[in-house]
Protein backbone atom coordinates (compact mmCIF):
# COMPACT_ATOMS: atom_id res chain seq x y z
CA UNK A 1 0.00 0.00 0.00
CA UNK A 2 1.15 3.55 -0.76
CA UNK A 3 -0.07 6.84 0.72
CA UNK A 4 -1.96 8.08 -2.34
CA UNK A 5 -5.53 9.29 -2.02
CA UNK A 6 -7.73 8.29 -4.95
CA UNK A 7 -10.77 10.43 -5.66
CA UNK A 8 -13.70 9.23 -7.74
CA UNK A 9 -14.58 12.07 -10.09
CA UNK A 10 -18.35 11.93 -10.37
CA UNK A 11 -19.88 13.44 -13.47
CA UNK A 12 -23.37 13.62 -14.83
CA UNK A 13 -24.34 14.64 -18.33
CA UNK A 14 -20.87 15.99 -19.04
CA UNK A 15 -20.47 17.97 -15.85
CA UNK A 16 -18.21 17.22 -12.88
CA UNK A 17 -20.16 17.50 -9.61
CA UNK A 18 -19.25 20.05 -6.91
CA UNK A 19 -18.72 17.29 -4.39
CA UNK A 20 -15.95 15.83 -6.59
CA UNK A 21 -13.99 19.07 -6.19
CA UNK A 22 -14.71 19.03 -2.46
CA UNK A 23 -13.24 15.52 -2.29
CA UNK A 24 -10.12 16.68 -4.17
CA UNK A 25 -9.76 19.43 -1.55
CA UNK A 26 -10.12 16.80 1.21
CA UNK A 27 -7.51 14.60 -0.48
CA UNK A 28 -5.14 17.57 -0.77
CA UNK A 29 -5.33 18.22 2.97
CA UNK A 30 -4.73 14.57 3.80
CA UNK A 31 -1.65 14.20 1.61
CA UNK A 32 -0.25 17.51 2.88
CA UNK A 33 -0.05 15.91 6.32
CA UNK A 34 0.25 12.20 5.64
CA UNK A 35 2.18 12.19 2.35
CA UNK A 36 1.26 10.61 -0.96
CA UNK A 37 -0.34 12.11 -4.03
CA UNK A 38 -3.84 13.20 -4.98
CA UNK A 39 -5.03 10.94 -7.78
CA UNK A 40 -8.26 11.77 -9.60
CA UNK A 41 -9.99 8.78 -11.16
CA UNK A 42 -12.03 9.60 -14.23
CA UNK A 43 -14.18 6.85 -15.69
CA UNK A 44 -16.04 7.69 -18.86
CA UNK A 45 -16.12 7.62 -22.62
CA UNK A 46 -14.73 10.43 -24.76
CA UNK A 47 -14.82 12.57 -21.67
CA UNK A 48 -11.09 13.18 -21.11
CA UNK A 49 -11.69 16.94 -21.33
CA UNK A 50 -13.35 16.61 -17.92
CA UNK A 51 -9.82 16.15 -16.52
CA UNK A 52 -9.16 19.83 -17.20
CA UNK A 53 -9.71 21.84 -14.07
CA UNK A 54 -9.17 18.99 -11.61
CA UNK A 55 -6.56 19.98 -9.03
CA UNK A 56 -4.88 16.58 -8.79
CA UNK A 57 -1.29 15.39 -9.03
CA UNK A 58 -2.37 12.73 -11.48
CA UNK A 59 -5.52 11.82 -13.33
CA UNK A 60 -6.06 8.15 -14.09
CA UNK A 61 -8.52 7.95 -16.92
CA UNK A 62 -10.29 4.86 -18.19
CA UNK A 63 -12.21 5.27 -21.42
CA UNK A 64 -14.77 2.66 -22.44
CA UNK A 65 -18.25 2.78 -24.00
CA UNK A 66 -19.65 0.90 -20.97
CA UNK A 67 -18.44 3.77 -18.78
CA UNK A 68 -20.03 6.54 -20.85
CA UNK A 69 -22.74 6.93 -18.22
CA UNK A 70 -22.74 5.73 -14.67
CA UNK A 71 -23.90 2.20 -13.96
CA UNK A 72 -22.95 0.39 -10.77
CA UNK A 73 -21.49 -2.83 -12.18
CA UNK A 74 -19.21 -1.17 -14.73
CA UNK A 75 -17.86 1.22 -12.10
CA UNK A 76 -17.33 -1.56 -9.55
CA UNK A 77 -15.34 -3.59 -12.04
CA UNK A 78 -13.21 -0.66 -13.14
CA UNK A 79 -12.53 0.32 -9.54
CA UNK A 80 -11.71 -3.26 -8.49
CA UNK A 81 -9.05 -3.29 -11.16
CA UNK A 82 -7.65 0.09 -10.10
CA UNK A 83 -7.53 -0.71 -6.39
CA UNK A 84 -5.83 -4.05 -7.02
CA UNK A 85 -3.31 -2.46 -9.35
CA UNK A 86 -2.45 0.65 -7.30
CA UNK A 87 -3.15 -0.09 -3.61
CA UNK A 88 -3.82 3.51 -2.51
CA UNK A 89 -4.21 4.53 1.14
CA UNK A 90 -7.71 5.89 0.56
CA UNK A 91 -10.38 5.87 -2.10
CA UNK A 92 -12.93 8.66 -1.77
CA UNK A 93 -16.41 8.39 -3.28
CA UNK A 94 -19.41 10.64 -3.02
CA UNK A 95 -22.08 9.52 -0.58
CA UNK A 96 -24.34 9.93 -3.57
CA UNK A 97 -26.45 8.16 -6.15
CA UNK A 98 -23.14 7.27 -7.83
CA UNK A 99 -20.62 6.61 -5.05
CA UNK A 100 -22.96 4.82 -2.64
CA UNK A 101 -23.83 2.28 -5.36
CA UNK A 102 -20.15 1.46 -5.81
CA UNK A 103 -18.41 1.59 -2.43
CA UNK A 104 -20.44 -1.10 -0.62
CA UNK A 105 -19.92 -3.62 -3.40
CA UNK A 106 -16.19 -2.90 -3.47
CA UNK A 107 -15.94 -3.29 0.30
CA UNK A 108 -17.41 -6.80 0.22
CA UNK A 109 -15.82 -7.99 -3.01
CA UNK A 110 -12.33 -6.78 -2.07
CA UNK A 111 -12.53 -7.18 1.69
CA UNK A 112 -11.76 -3.51 2.32
CA UNK A 113 -13.09 -1.35 5.18
CA UNK A 114 -15.75 1.20 4.36
CA UNK A 115 -16.92 4.28 6.21
CA UNK A 116 -19.89 6.31 5.00
CA UNK A 117 -21.36 9.78 5.62
CA UNK A 118 -17.83 11.14 6.21
CA UNK A 119 -17.69 14.91 6.40
CA UNK A 120 -14.08 15.49 7.43
CA UNK A 121 -10.85 13.47 7.29
CA UNK A 122 -8.29 14.23 9.99
CA UNK A 123 -4.65 13.30 10.39
CA UNK A 124 -3.49 12.88 13.99
CA UNK A 125 -0.04 11.54 14.89
CA UNK A 126 0.26 10.12 11.41
CA UNK A 127 -3.05 8.27 11.76
CA UNK A 128 -6.07 8.90 9.60
CA UNK A 129 -9.41 9.61 11.24
CA UNK A 130 -12.90 9.85 9.81
CA UNK A 131 -15.61 12.09 11.19
CA UNK A 132 -19.08 11.18 10.00
CA UNK A 133 -22.35 12.95 10.37
CA UNK A 134 -25.22 10.61 11.28
CA UNK A 135 -28.72 10.63 12.77
CA UNK A 136 -29.98 13.44 10.58
CA UNK A 137 -27.09 15.71 11.57
CA UNK A 138 -27.63 15.27 15.30
CA UNK A 139 -24.63 13.02 15.96
CA UNK A 140 -20.98 13.00 14.89
CA UNK A 141 -19.05 9.72 14.99
CA UNK A 142 -15.28 9.63 14.81
CA UNK A 143 -12.71 6.87 14.63
CA UNK A 144 -9.49 5.59 13.03
CA UNK A 145 -9.32 4.30 9.51
CA UNK A 146 -7.71 0.85 9.59
CA UNK A 147 -4.17 0.73 8.17
CA UNK A 148 -5.15 -0.81 4.85
CA UNK A 149 -6.70 0.66 1.73
CA UNK A 150 -9.89 2.24 3.09
CA UNK A 151 -13.03 3.21 1.20
CA UNK A 152 -14.79 6.40 2.25
CA UNK A 153 -18.05 7.91 1.02
CA UNK A 154 -18.08 11.67 1.60
CA UNK A 155 -20.96 14.05 2.28
CA UNK A 156 -20.70 17.75 1.41
CA UNK A 157 -20.07 20.45 3.96
CA UNK A 158 -16.54 19.68 5.12
CA UNK A 159 -14.55 21.20 2.25
CA UNK A 160 -14.88 23.96 -0.28
CA UNK A 161 -15.16 22.94 -3.92
CA UNK A 162 -13.53 26.22 -5.04
CA UNK A 163 -10.21 25.11 -3.54
CA UNK A 164 -9.82 22.32 -6.05
CA UNK A 165 -11.42 23.82 -9.10
CA UNK A 166 -9.60 25.44 -11.96
CA UNK A 167 -6.04 24.23 -11.52
CA UNK A 168 -4.75 21.82 -14.09
CA UNK A 169 -3.70 18.29 -13.20
CA UNK A 170 0.03 17.71 -13.58
CA UNK A 171 -0.36 14.47 -15.49
CA UNK A 172 -3.13 12.58 -17.25
CA UNK A 173 -2.63 8.85 -17.67
CA UNK A 174 -4.94 6.79 -19.88
CA UNK A 175 -5.42 3.21 -18.82
CA UNK A 176 -6.76 0.21 -20.66
CA UNK A 177 -10.22 -0.76 -19.40
CA UNK A 178 -10.72 -4.18 -17.81
CA UNK A 179 -13.22 -6.42 -19.67
CA UNK A 180 -16.68 -4.84 -19.31
CA UNK A 181 -19.09 -7.12 -21.12
CA UNK A 182 -22.53 -8.56 -20.36
CA UNK A 183 -23.19 -6.17 -17.53
CA UNK A 184 -26.38 -6.75 -15.53
CA UNK A 185 -27.15 -3.01 -15.15
CA UNK A 186 -27.71 -0.87 -18.27
CA UNK A 187 -28.75 2.75 -18.77
CA UNK A 188 -31.76 3.16 -21.03
CA UNK A 189 -32.30 6.89 -20.96
CA UNK A 190 -32.31 10.00 -18.85
CA UNK A 191 -35.58 11.61 -17.92
CA UNK A 192 -35.21 15.36 -17.55
CA UNK A 193 -37.00 17.10 -14.69
CA UNK A 194 -40.40 18.44 -15.64
CA UNK A 195 -40.53 22.10 -16.49
CA UNK A 196 -42.74 23.89 -14.01
CA UNK A 197 -44.23 27.34 -13.57
CA UNK A 198 -41.88 28.01 -10.69
CA UNK A 199 -38.10 27.58 -10.57
CA UNK A 200 -37.30 27.52 -6.85
CA UNK A 201 -33.60 28.00 -7.56
CA UNK A 202 -34.34 31.47 -8.95
CA UNK A 203 -36.71 32.74 -6.24
CA UNK A 204 -35.72 35.43 -3.74
CA UNK A 205 -38.17 34.50 -1.02
CA UNK A 206 -38.83 30.88 -0.17
CA UNK A 207 -41.18 29.55 2.47
CA UNK A 208 -40.13 25.97 3.06
CA UNK A 209 -42.21 23.36 4.86
CA UNK A 210 -41.21 20.06 6.38
CA UNK A 211 -42.86 17.12 8.04
CA UNK A 212 -43.91 19.46 10.87
CA UNK A 213 -46.72 20.63 8.59
CA UNK A 214 -48.48 17.31 9.30
CA UNK A 215 -50.90 17.21 6.35
CA UNK A 216 -52.06 18.72 3.10
CA UNK A 217 -54.26 21.30 4.86
CA UNK A 218 -51.16 22.82 6.41
CA UNK A 219 -49.83 23.55 2.91
CA UNK A 220 -52.63 26.08 2.34
CA UNK A 221 -51.63 27.92 5.48
CA UNK A 222 -48.05 28.38 4.31
CA UNK A 223 -49.21 29.18 0.79
CA UNK A 224 -50.92 32.23 2.29
CA UNK A 225 -47.73 33.20 4.05
CA UNK A 226 -45.72 32.83 0.85
CA UNK A 227 -48.22 35.02 -1.01
CA UNK A 228 -48.10 37.66 1.72
CA UNK A 229 -44.31 37.67 1.37
CA UNK A 230 -44.35 37.62 -2.41
CA UNK A 231 -42.48 34.33 -2.41
CA UNK A 232 -43.19 30.68 -3.18
CA UNK A 233 -43.56 27.49 -1.19
CA UNK A 234 -40.99 24.71 -1.34
CA UNK A 235 -40.46 21.64 0.84
CA UNK A 236 -38.34 18.90 2.32
CA UNK A 237 -38.49 15.35 1.02
CA UNK A 238 -41.22 13.85 3.25
CA UNK A 239 -43.70 16.53 2.10
CA UNK A 240 -42.95 15.67 -1.53
CA UNK A 241 -43.06 11.90 -0.90
CA UNK A 242 -46.51 12.33 0.65
CA UNK A 243 -47.62 14.01 -2.56
CA UNK A 244 -48.54 17.29 -0.86
CA UNK A 245 -46.37 19.33 -3.24
CA UNK A 246 -44.90 18.47 -6.66
CA UNK A 247 -41.30 17.29 -6.89
CA UNK A 248 -40.32 20.54 -8.62
CA UNK A 249 -40.59 22.14 -5.16
CA UNK A 250 -38.11 19.75 -3.52
CA UNK A 251 -35.07 21.35 -1.90
CA UNK A 252 -31.90 19.42 -1.09
CA UNK A 253 -29.72 16.59 -2.24
CA UNK A 254 -32.23 15.13 -4.69
CA UNK A 255 -33.96 18.42 -5.42
CA UNK A 256 -32.93 21.99 -6.06
CA UNK A 257 -29.99 23.93 -4.64
CA UNK A 258 -31.61 27.23 -3.71
CA UNK A 259 -30.05 30.65 -3.08
CA UNK A 260 -32.79 33.06 -2.01
CA UNK A 261 -32.42 36.25 0.02
CA UNK A 262 -34.65 34.68 2.67
CA UNK A 263 -35.26 31.00 3.32
CA UNK A 264 -37.96 30.59 5.95
CA UNK A 265 -37.91 26.96 7.14
CA UNK A 266 -41.04 25.81 8.97
CA UNK A 267 -41.05 22.42 10.70
CA UNK A 268 -37.87 21.23 8.99
CA UNK A 269 -35.30 19.41 11.15
CA UNK A 270 -32.29 20.29 9.01
CA UNK A 271 -31.10 16.84 7.98
CA UNK A 272 -27.82 16.98 6.00
CA UNK A 273 -29.62 16.00 2.78
CA UNK A 274 -31.83 19.06 3.16
CA UNK A 275 -29.14 21.43 4.38
CA UNK A 276 -26.91 20.82 1.36
CA UNK A 277 -29.61 22.45 -0.76
CA UNK A 278 -29.97 25.62 1.32
CA UNK A 279 -26.45 26.62 2.41
CA UNK A 280 -26.21 29.25 -0.33
CA UNK A 281 -29.23 31.15 0.99
CA UNK A 282 -28.41 34.66 2.22
CA UNK A 283 -30.48 34.44 5.40
CA UNK A 284 -32.05 31.29 6.81
CA UNK A 285 -34.80 31.74 9.39
CA UNK A 286 -35.91 28.54 11.11
CA UNK A 287 -39.05 27.81 13.06
CA UNK A 288 -38.90 24.54 14.94
CA UNK A 289 -40.30 23.44 18.30
CA UNK A 290 -37.18 21.35 18.93
CA UNK A 291 -34.29 23.52 20.10
CA UNK A 292 -31.90 20.65 19.28
CA UNK A 293 -32.97 20.59 15.62
CA UNK A 294 -29.85 20.82 13.42
CA UNK A 295 -31.56 23.46 11.25
CA UNK A 296 -30.52 25.97 13.94
CA UNK A 297 -26.88 25.25 13.04
CA UNK A 298 -27.29 26.86 9.65
CA UNK A 299 -29.98 29.42 10.53
CA UNK A 300 -29.21 33.08 11.14
CA UNK A 301 -32.40 33.50 13.17
CA UNK A 302 -34.29 30.85 15.10
CA UNK A 303 -37.75 30.62 16.64
CA UNK A 304 -38.70 27.68 18.82
CA UNK A 305 -42.45 28.26 18.63
CA UNK A 306 -45.14 26.10 17.06
CA UNK A 307 -45.48 26.94 13.37
CA UNK A 308 -49.28 26.60 13.59
CA UNK A 309 -49.37 29.33 16.24
CA UNK A 310 -46.91 31.55 14.44
CA UNK A 311 -47.99 31.48 10.82
CA UNK A 312 -51.55 32.94 11.11
CA UNK A 313 -50.32 35.83 13.28
CA UNK A 314 -47.36 36.38 10.99
CA UNK A 315 -49.59 36.52 7.91
CA UNK A 316 -51.82 39.13 9.59
CA UNK A 317 -48.89 41.26 10.67
CA UNK A 318 -47.25 41.14 7.25
CA UNK A 319 -50.50 42.15 5.57
CA UNK A 320 -50.98 44.95 8.06
CA UNK A 321 -47.45 46.21 7.58
CA UNK A 322 -47.89 46.16 3.80
CA UNK A 323 -51.18 48.07 4.00
CA UNK A 324 -49.52 50.71 6.17
CA UNK A 325 -46.72 51.06 3.60
CA UNK A 326 -49.24 51.74 0.81
Amino acid sequence: MNQDVFVSIEHLRGQVTDLSYGMLAAARQVVAEAGGEVVAVLLGHTGQHLAQGLAADRVLSIDHPALADFTSEAYIQAWSYLLREYNPRLALFGDTSIGADVAGGLSIRMGLPLVSACQVLLVENGELLFRSQICGGKIMAQGKLPPTTALVTMVPGGYRAEEARGEEPSEIISLEAPPLEDLPVRLKEYIEPEISDVDITKENVLVAVGRGIQNQDGIELVQELAEALGGVVCASRPVIDQGWLPITRLVGKSGGQVKPVVYLALGISGAPEHVEGIVNSQVIIAVNTDLAAPIFNVAKYGLTCDLFDLVPILVDKIRLSRSIQV
Binding site: R13, T17, F70, T71, S72, E73, T96, S97, A100, D101, A103, G104, G105, S107, I108, G111, L112, P113, V115, S116, A117, S132, I134, C135, K138, M140, Q142, G143, K144, P146, V185, R186, L187, K188, Y190, I191, N204, D241, Q242, I247, S254, G255, G256, V261, V262, S269, I285, A286, L291, A292, F296, N297, A299, K300, Y301, C305, L310, K317, I318, R322
Partner: protein, 254 residues
Protein backbone atom coordinates in the same frame (compact mmCIF):
# COMPACT_ATOMS: atom_id res chain seq x y z
CA UNK B 1 -42.40 -13.14 -8.30
CA UNK B 2 -40.62 -13.58 -4.99
CA UNK B 3 -39.67 -10.42 -3.17
CA UNK B 4 -37.66 -10.17 0.02
CA UNK B 5 -37.65 -6.88 1.93
CA UNK B 6 -34.91 -6.18 4.44
CA UNK B 7 -35.79 -3.71 7.15
CA UNK B 8 -34.25 -2.40 10.35
CA UNK B 9 -35.26 -0.19 13.24
CA UNK B 10 -33.45 3.11 13.82
CA UNK B 11 -33.57 5.76 16.55
CA UNK B 12 -36.56 8.09 16.27
CA UNK B 13 -34.94 11.47 15.69
CA UNK B 14 -37.92 13.32 17.10
CA UNK B 15 -36.77 12.15 20.53
CA UNK B 16 -33.84 13.70 22.31
CA UNK B 17 -30.67 11.70 21.65
CA UNK B 18 -27.91 11.33 24.19
CA UNK B 19 -24.57 9.58 24.19
CA UNK B 20 -23.75 6.78 26.62
CA UNK B 21 -21.02 7.30 29.23
CA UNK B 22 -18.69 5.15 27.09
CA UNK B 23 -18.69 8.04 24.62
CA UNK B 24 -18.84 5.72 21.62
CA UNK B 25 -22.52 4.94 21.16
CA UNK B 26 -25.99 6.30 21.74
CA UNK B 27 -27.50 5.89 25.16
CA UNK B 28 -30.21 3.31 24.58
CA UNK B 29 -32.01 3.73 27.91
CA UNK B 30 -34.61 6.16 26.62
CA UNK B 31 -34.09 5.54 22.94
CA UNK B 32 -37.29 5.02 20.99
CA UNK B 33 -36.90 3.09 17.76
CA UNK B 34 -38.94 3.27 14.59
CA UNK B 35 -38.71 1.61 11.20
CA UNK B 36 -36.16 3.24 8.89
CA UNK B 37 -38.45 5.39 6.75
CA UNK B 38 -36.87 4.24 3.48
CA UNK B 39 -37.46 0.61 4.51
CA UNK B 40 -41.10 1.58 4.85
CA UNK B 41 -40.96 2.77 1.23
CA UNK B 42 -39.30 -0.56 0.29
CA UNK B 43 -42.21 -2.45 1.88
CA UNK B 44 -44.70 -0.27 0.00
CA UNK B 45 -42.87 -0.83 -3.30
CA UNK B 46 -42.86 -4.60 -2.68
CA UNK B 47 -46.60 -4.64 -2.01
CA UNK B 48 -47.26 -2.54 -5.12
CA UNK B 49 -45.23 -5.01 -7.21
CA UNK B 50 -47.09 -7.94 -5.69
CA UNK B 51 -50.43 -6.28 -6.46
CA UNK B 52 -49.34 -5.75 -10.03
CA UNK B 53 -47.57 -9.01 -10.84
CA UNK B 54 -48.62 -11.44 -8.11
CA UNK B 55 -46.13 -13.35 -6.01
CA UNK B 56 -44.95 -13.43 -2.45
CA UNK B 57 -43.46 -10.80 -0.17
CA UNK B 58 -41.27 -11.83 2.76
CA UNK B 59 -40.11 -9.20 5.23
CA UNK B 60 -36.94 -9.85 7.19
CA UNK B 61 -35.75 -7.88 10.22
CA UNK B 62 -33.24 -8.15 13.05
CA UNK B 63 -34.73 -8.33 16.53
CA UNK B 64 -34.96 -4.88 18.01
CA UNK B 65 -37.37 -2.99 20.22
CA UNK B 66 -40.64 -2.54 18.36
CA UNK B 67 -39.74 -4.72 15.39
CA UNK B 68 -42.73 -7.05 15.78
CA UNK B 69 -45.06 -4.07 15.41
CA UNK B 70 -43.21 -3.05 12.26
CA UNK B 71 -43.39 -6.60 10.90
CA UNK B 72 -47.08 -7.11 11.66
CA UNK B 73 -47.82 -3.71 10.14
CA UNK B 74 -46.11 -4.95 6.96
CA UNK B 75 -48.31 -8.06 7.08
CA UNK B 76 -51.43 -5.92 7.49
CA UNK B 77 -50.36 -4.06 4.34
CA UNK B 78 -50.05 -7.31 2.41
CA UNK B 79 -46.73 -9.00 3.20
CA UNK B 80 -47.05 -12.80 3.24
CA UNK B 81 -44.19 -13.94 5.44
CA UNK B 82 -42.41 -12.37 8.39
CA UNK B 83 -39.03 -13.48 9.65
CA UNK B 84 -37.19 -12.09 12.62
CA UNK B 85 -33.47 -12.65 13.04
CA UNK B 86 -33.16 -13.23 16.75
CA UNK B 87 -30.15 -12.16 18.72
CA UNK B 88 -28.68 -9.38 20.77
CA UNK B 89 -28.03 -6.65 18.21
CA UNK B 90 -25.66 -4.56 20.26
CA UNK B 91 -22.89 -2.18 19.25
CA UNK B 92 -20.83 -5.02 17.74
CA UNK B 93 -23.33 -5.19 14.88
CA UNK B 94 -22.81 -2.95 11.87
CA UNK B 95 -24.32 -3.22 8.39
CA UNK B 96 -21.55 -5.57 7.23
CA UNK B 97 -22.48 -7.97 10.05
CA UNK B 98 -26.19 -7.55 9.40
CA UNK B 99 -25.70 -8.26 5.69
CA UNK B 100 -23.80 -11.45 6.55
CA UNK B 101 -26.52 -12.51 8.96
CA UNK B 102 -29.21 -11.94 6.31
CA UNK B 103 -27.26 -13.87 3.66
CA UNK B 104 -28.23 -17.52 4.38
CA UNK B 105 -31.90 -16.62 4.68
CA UNK B 106 -31.92 -14.41 1.63
CA UNK B 107 -30.30 -17.23 -0.35
CA UNK B 108 -32.68 -19.85 0.94
CA UNK B 109 -35.69 -17.77 -0.09
CA UNK B 110 -34.35 -17.49 -3.68
CA UNK B 111 -35.88 -14.10 -4.35
CA UNK B 112 -36.22 -12.44 -7.74
CA UNK B 113 -35.92 -9.08 -6.04
CA UNK B 114 -34.48 -7.96 -2.74
CA UNK B 115 -35.66 -4.50 -1.71
CA UNK B 116 -34.36 -2.39 1.13
CA UNK B 117 -34.27 1.30 2.05
CA UNK B 118 -31.62 3.25 0.16
CA UNK B 119 -30.03 4.13 3.48
CA UNK B 120 -30.71 4.60 7.16
CA UNK B 121 -29.70 7.69 9.10
CA UNK B 122 -27.41 5.69 11.40
CA UNK B 123 -25.48 3.85 8.67
CA UNK B 124 -21.76 4.23 9.22
CA UNK B 125 -20.31 1.46 7.05
CA UNK B 126 -22.37 2.01 3.92
CA UNK B 127 -26.00 1.04 3.51
CA UNK B 128 -27.27 -2.51 3.74
CA UNK B 129 -28.37 -2.99 0.10
CA UNK B 130 -25.03 -2.93 -1.72
CA UNK B 131 -23.42 -5.10 0.96
CA UNK B 132 -26.11 -7.77 0.72
CA UNK B 133 -25.99 -7.61 -3.08
CA UNK B 134 -22.24 -8.19 -3.18
CA UNK B 135 -22.48 -11.07 -0.72
CA UNK B 136 -25.23 -12.69 -2.82
CA UNK B 137 -23.30 -11.99 -6.03
CA UNK B 138 -26.19 -9.90 -7.38
CA UNK B 139 -26.29 -6.48 -9.04
CA UNK B 140 -27.38 -3.49 -6.97
CA UNK B 141 -28.95 -0.17 -7.86
CA UNK B 142 -29.81 2.42 -5.23
CA UNK B 143 -31.73 5.73 -5.09
CA UNK B 144 -34.62 3.95 -6.80
CA UNK B 145 -38.00 5.64 -7.15
CA UNK B 146 -40.08 3.41 -9.40
CA UNK B 147 -39.84 -0.24 -10.52
CA UNK B 148 -41.54 -2.29 -13.23
CA UNK B 149 -40.71 -5.89 -14.12
CA UNK B 150 -40.94 -7.97 -17.27
CA UNK B 151 -39.14 -11.05 -18.61
CA UNK B 152 -36.59 -11.30 -15.84
CA UNK B 153 -35.60 -7.65 -16.12
CA UNK B 154 -36.49 -4.82 -13.78
CA UNK B 155 -36.78 -1.36 -15.29
CA UNK B 156 -36.07 1.13 -12.59
CA UNK B 157 -35.96 4.88 -12.17
CA UNK B 158 -32.86 6.08 -10.38
CA UNK B 159 -32.73 9.54 -8.84
CA UNK B 160 -29.92 11.99 -9.49
CA UNK B 161 -29.69 15.54 -8.12
CA UNK B 162 -31.95 18.36 -9.29
CA UNK B 163 -34.79 16.09 -10.35
CA UNK B 164 -32.86 14.22 -13.05
CA UNK B 165 -33.85 10.55 -13.39
CA UNK B 166 -32.14 7.68 -15.16
CA UNK B 167 -34.11 4.75 -16.47
CA UNK B 168 -32.02 1.62 -16.08
CA UNK B 169 -32.50 -2.06 -16.81
CA UNK B 170 -31.35 -4.52 -14.20
CA UNK B 171 -31.20 -8.26 -14.82
CA UNK B 172 -32.96 -10.25 -12.09
CA UNK B 173 -32.33 -11.42 -9.48
CA UNK B 174 -31.16 -8.08 -8.13
CA UNK B 175 -31.07 -5.93 -5.03
CA UNK B 176 -32.60 -2.43 -5.11
CA UNK B 177 -32.17 0.41 -2.63
CA UNK B 178 -35.51 2.19 -2.50
CA UNK B 179 -35.60 5.95 -2.07
CA UNK B 180 -39.32 6.39 -2.61
CA UNK B 181 -42.12 3.99 -3.48
CA UNK B 182 -44.39 4.98 -6.36
CA UNK B 183 -46.95 6.06 -3.81
CA UNK B 184 -46.56 7.08 -0.18
CA UNK B 185 -46.50 4.14 2.26
CA UNK B 186 -50.14 3.25 2.88
CA UNK B 187 -51.79 3.72 6.21
CA UNK B 188 -53.23 0.72 8.03
CA UNK B 189 -55.50 0.96 11.01
CA UNK B 190 -54.20 -0.58 14.22
CA UNK B 191 -57.16 -2.98 14.24
CA UNK B 192 -55.83 -4.48 11.01
CA UNK B 193 -52.36 -4.77 12.51
CA UNK B 194 -53.81 -6.55 15.51
CA UNK B 195 -55.67 -8.87 13.21
CA UNK B 196 -52.48 -9.70 11.31
CA UNK B 197 -50.89 -10.67 14.64
CA UNK B 198 -53.44 -13.47 14.82
CA UNK B 199 -53.32 -14.57 11.20
CA UNK B 200 -49.63 -14.22 10.28
CA UNK B 201 -46.88 -16.18 11.99
CA UNK B 202 -43.63 -14.53 12.85
CA UNK B 203 -40.83 -17.00 12.11
CA UNK B 204 -37.68 -16.69 14.12
CA UNK B 205 -34.14 -17.56 13.12
CA UNK B 206 -31.05 -17.28 15.24
CA UNK B 207 -28.68 -14.65 13.99
CA UNK B 208 -25.41 -16.22 15.14
CA UNK B 209 -22.29 -14.24 15.94
CA UNK B 210 -21.67 -10.75 14.63
CA UNK B 211 -19.09 -10.66 11.83
CA UNK B 212 -18.43 -6.95 11.47
CA UNK B 213 -15.24 -7.05 9.31
CA UNK B 214 -15.33 -4.31 6.70
CA UNK B 215 -16.87 -1.76 9.04
CA UNK B 216 -15.07 0.77 11.18
CA UNK B 217 -14.86 1.31 14.92
CA UNK B 218 -16.21 4.47 16.53
CA UNK B 219 -13.86 5.86 19.16
CA UNK B 220 -15.61 9.11 19.89
CA UNK B 221 -19.22 10.17 19.46
CA UNK B 222 -20.51 13.66 20.13
CA UNK B 223 -23.39 16.01 19.48
CA UNK B 224 -22.53 19.10 17.48
CA UNK B 225 -23.34 22.27 19.39
CA UNK B 226 -26.71 23.36 18.06
CA UNK B 227 -27.78 26.85 17.28
CA UNK B 228 -24.26 28.14 17.81
CA UNK B 229 -24.55 30.65 14.99
CA UNK B 230 -28.26 31.44 15.27
CA UNK B 231 -29.82 34.39 17.04
CA UNK B 232 -32.81 32.94 18.87
CA UNK B 233 -35.80 35.26 18.98
CA UNK B 234 -37.02 35.37 22.55
CA UNK B 235 -40.33 36.33 24.10
CA UNK B 236 -43.98 35.43 23.82
CA UNK B 237 -45.63 34.70 20.50
CA UNK B 238 -46.54 38.32 19.74
CA UNK B 239 -43.05 39.51 20.60
CA UNK B 240 -41.24 36.92 18.48
CA UNK B 241 -43.60 37.58 15.59
CA UNK B 242 -42.92 41.33 15.81
CA UNK B 243 -39.19 40.65 15.85
CA UNK B 244 -39.54 38.42 12.82
CA UNK B 245 -41.54 41.05 10.96
CA UNK B 246 -38.89 43.68 11.63
CA UNK B 247 -36.17 41.32 10.43
CA UNK B 248 -38.14 40.76 7.22
CA UNK B 249 -38.39 44.53 6.89
CA UNK B 250 -34.64 44.97 7.31
CA UNK B 251 -34.10 42.33 4.64
CA UNK B 252 -36.38 44.34 2.41
CA UNK B 253 -38.72 41.48 1.59
CA UNK B 254 -41.75 43.31 2.99
Amino acid sequence: MKIVVLIKMVPDLVEELSISPSGIELDTTWLRLKINEFDDHAIEQAILLKEQYGGEVTVLAPEMEGVDDALFTAAAKGADRLIQLSGKFDNSWNNHALARAFLPLAQELQPDLVLTGVQAHNDLDGSLGPLVAALMGLPYVGYVAGVTVSDGVATIRKEYPAGLLAEMEVSLPAVLGIQAAEQPPRYVAFSKVRQSMKTTTLDERLAGESEPQGGVTVEHMFQPETGAGATMLEGDLTQVTDKLVSILHELDVI
